[in-house]
Structure formats: C-alpha cells, structure tokens
C-alpha cells in the first residue's frame, strides 16, 4: 500500500526508486501539451508566468512597502487603512490579493499569519509562500500554539506580549508590519528595505539589523 517513509521505516524495500519521474511531472507535461494544442493556454505564456514568479516577484516588494511605512508616516496611515491601495502607490498588485490588511507589531502585540485550510498568502506582495508555510505542521500548530512555534523558529516572546494569529481563510490577505529595529535611524529607505525579511512580514521573525 505504502511507499512513503516515516519514522525511518523502510516499508517497501522492493519499491523501485531508480530515477522514476514523479507522476506529477509526467501528468503535467501531458496535460500542458494538450491544453496548448487546444488553445486553452499557450506554453509561452506559462513560461512567462513561471519566470515572473521565479525572478521578479518576491519578498522584496513587501520589504519596499515596510520600509516606506517606516519612513513615511502618512503612507503608513494609508497602508494600515487600506493596504492594497497603498501598495498600488508603489506599483504593486496582482492575483490572489483582492484585499490586504496590514497589521502592525508593537512591543506588546505580535501578529502572525497562517491559513489553516490551504495556505492562502499575499503572493502579490511577498511572492509565493515557502514550503514551511504550506506544511501540515505550520498549518496545524500556528493557531493552537503560536508561542511554541515561534520559539522553535527562533523568536521567543514573553507571556506579556499578546500574540494575534490571523487565520486568513477568506479572501482577505495579511501582511505584518514588523517593528523597526533600534539603531536604524540613519538608514535610508532602500537600506531599510534590504533588512526586511519575508519571515518578519509573515510574523515568525523580527527584523534584525
């Protein structure tokens, strides 16, 4: 029945692991070729989208938003009031983000984002989510024991810090506005953007200088 490993069991020693192409690859190739042939899509458009997400879109967009919010109080106010409109000022927007709430961390309030049902994520602003965000472990645990999960991921918060877990199961997407670290007063907006990480904008890390 089972060829997957767990707990070190080599359940099926006769399973042939030699260079088999995964079924997903085999079926994807066939499906794409038929869709291309029928004109449902063009493979060159698929190429473009892959390249766009591999090379263009990523956490840097979110980092620009955060750095601007740190340096421009009026922008920050607009961002917290209507995330997507404010992002549009920076030329950001696109699929899987119909509405964006930006939630602000403070010394006493820490925000963290998850989607327990399927891994919803603000692609437009942060790129595609990392594997851990999509993992069963994160999806199951982040809502029940965020403090423990954060500690395991390297962010230990005292019990005096309230943790808010945003389970983004509807079409509203969330971006965490991390705290600006001390000692960054002299950095430019571009330099600030360089230190803002994806993990800080999901809420599983602080921004470090």
């Amino acid at each position: 029945m089972s060829g997957h490993d767990h707990d070190g069991h080599d359940h099926d020693p006769h399973h042939d692991h030699r260079a088999a192409k995964p079924w997903q690859a085999v079926r994807t190739e066939a499906l794409e070729s038929i869709l291309n042939e029928l004109g449902v899509l063009s493979s060159s458009r698929v190429d473009e989208i892959v390249a766009y997400y591999e090379d263009k879109i990523g956490q840097k967009s979110g980092a620009r938003v955060v750095a601007r919010a740190w340096t421009d109080p009026a922008f920050k106010a607009r961002l917290l009031a209507d995330g997507l409109s404010a992002c549009a000022e920076l030329g950001l927007g696109g699929p899987e983000t119909e509405y964006l709430h930006v939630v602000e961390n403070t010394p006493t309030l820490h925000n963290i984002v998850v989607c327990t049902l399927c891994s919803c994520y603000p692609w437009t602003i942060l790129g595609l989510p990392p594997a851990w965000y999509k993992s069963s472990a994160y999806r199951s645990r982040a809502v029940r024991e965020p403090r423990k999960v954060l500690a395991e991921m390297g962010l230990s918060l005292g019990d005096d810090v309230t943790i808010q877990v945003w389970d983004s199961v509807s079409e509203i997407r969330y971006l965490v506005l991390p705290e600006r670290p001390a000692g960054t007063e002299s950095l430019t907006e571009a330099e600030l953007a360089d230190i803002v990480t994806r993990d800080a904008m999901i809420g599983v890390a602080r921004v470090q200088v």
Partner: protein, 228 residues
C-alpha cells in the same frame, strides 16, 4: 466538509521544518502547475472555490503525500475532465504515446472548449459593483454556527459553536464559498474578522495571552450579544 485539509489544531505533524535558501519551485512541474492554474483563472472555466473544493475531495493519504502543487494538479485534472475540456483518458493516452514517441493530436471537437462568453464564470471573490449591508458591527459578540456541510466551506472546524468578538467589518460584497464552490449562487455578503480568545477555542490547551482572529462570512455567524 470535515476533512484532513482543515488542519487547525491537529497534533502529530512535528516541528515546522524550514528549508534554507529555498527555491521558488522545487521541480519544473511545480512551476508549470502553478502557472497553468494562473492561466486557468482567466479562462472562466471554473472558480477559486471549485478549485479548493476539488482538492478537499482528494483521498486523505494522497492529500498528505502528493505535495502542495500535486494537489493543484489533481484538482485541475479532475475539473477539466468533468467539464469535458481535457478528458482523463486523453492525458493517459498522451502519456503512453509520448513514451512511444508517436503523439497523435487530440480531436478539438465535442468538448467544453472554447467556452461561450455567457458561460464564463469569474474566478475571484469580490464583486466591486455590488453593495451589501452588514448585519453585525465591530464589538458585537457572535457565535459561529455549527455548520458542517458535506460540500465546501471556509468555516474552520475549530471555531464552530464558539463565541468571539467582531473586530473588523469587511463590508464589501464577497461571494459565499459554500454555494459558489458548487455553482449554486454567489450569495454576496460581508466578511467579518472575529477575535476568539485562545481559551475559548483551545480550552485547556490554550497558550496564555493569545488571540485567534478568523475571517468569517456573515452566513457563518449568529448574534450572541450586540455591542453596548
């Protein structure tokens, strides 16, 4: 539906494994599946909730082992087959023919493509040209309905029957996933962010000083006590 995809609060999946320097896609096929789905979003063939519900219908063990984009592929194949756009047997045949090096074109006739304009359905969830009047206000105490449909829902199991406080009213016209997934109506309505204490949701397993904030369609909620 109650299923393995509704993972909030489950034990047993171990620590969160972080992969350093992770690529955007871990294999070529992952990128193709992602991008093909992006194109599908624009064809009008199916909507976001159909996509999600089809994933929920996977065999539970396969859901856990086939990978994130493997789930997407599974759903896409099933939907395209059901809608007569690309039939499963055609994919199987293409695979067999590719192995033999002799690929015959499929017959474009007699299938669900091209799709007439009047049958195209929108992918996304916000209908900007419609206004809705919210039933609940910030501060209202609401109880989540014990709503357990066999079909699609975005009501996470762990807040069912729990009481929380409305903290954000998203007063836009959002489609109701439970009916839209089955093409049974958009039922446009507000979506509320509701804050639940960890104690309310997780009982004796609650972490201190923790709040769970969940976005919930209006039809998932009943008023428990209006804001004073």
């Amino acid at each position: 539906m109650n299923g393995i995809h509704d993972m909030g609060g489950l034990h047993g999946f171990g620590p969160v494994a972080v992969e350093p320097n992770e690529p955007v896609f871990h294999a070529r096929w992952e990128g193709r599946v992602y991008a093909i789905t992006q194109v599908m979003d624009t064809t009008g063939l199916y909507n976001l909730d159909e996509h999600r519900h089809e994933i929920e219908l996977m065999d539970a063990a396969a859901y856990l082992t086939d990978g994130y984009y493997g789930r997407w592929l599974f759903a896409m194949e099933r939907i395209l087959n059901r809608k007569g756009v690309v039939r499963r047997a055609e994919v199987d045949q293409r695979i067999a023919q590719s192995a033999d090096g002799e690929v015959a074109p499929v017959d474009p006739a007699d299938r669900g493509w091209p799709l007439p304009d009047e049958r195209r359905i929108p992918w996304g969830a916000w209908r900007k040209d419609v206004e809705v009047a919210p039933k609940f206000a910030v501060g209202d105490r609401v109880r989540v309905r014990n709503h357990q449909p066999a079909g699609h829902t975005r009501l996470t199991h762990y807040v069912r029957d729990k009481v929380g406080t409305v903290t954000v009213v998203n007063a836009q016209a959002w489609v109701y996933p439970d009916t839209r997934a089955h093409n049974a109506g958009e039922n446009l309505q507000p979506v509320y962010n509701v804050a639940f204490t960890s104690e309310e949701v997780w009982g004796d397993a609650a972490e201190p000083n923790t709040v769970v904030r969940v976005d919930l369609s209006e039809d998932y909620l009943d008023l428990e006590a209006a804001v004073a």
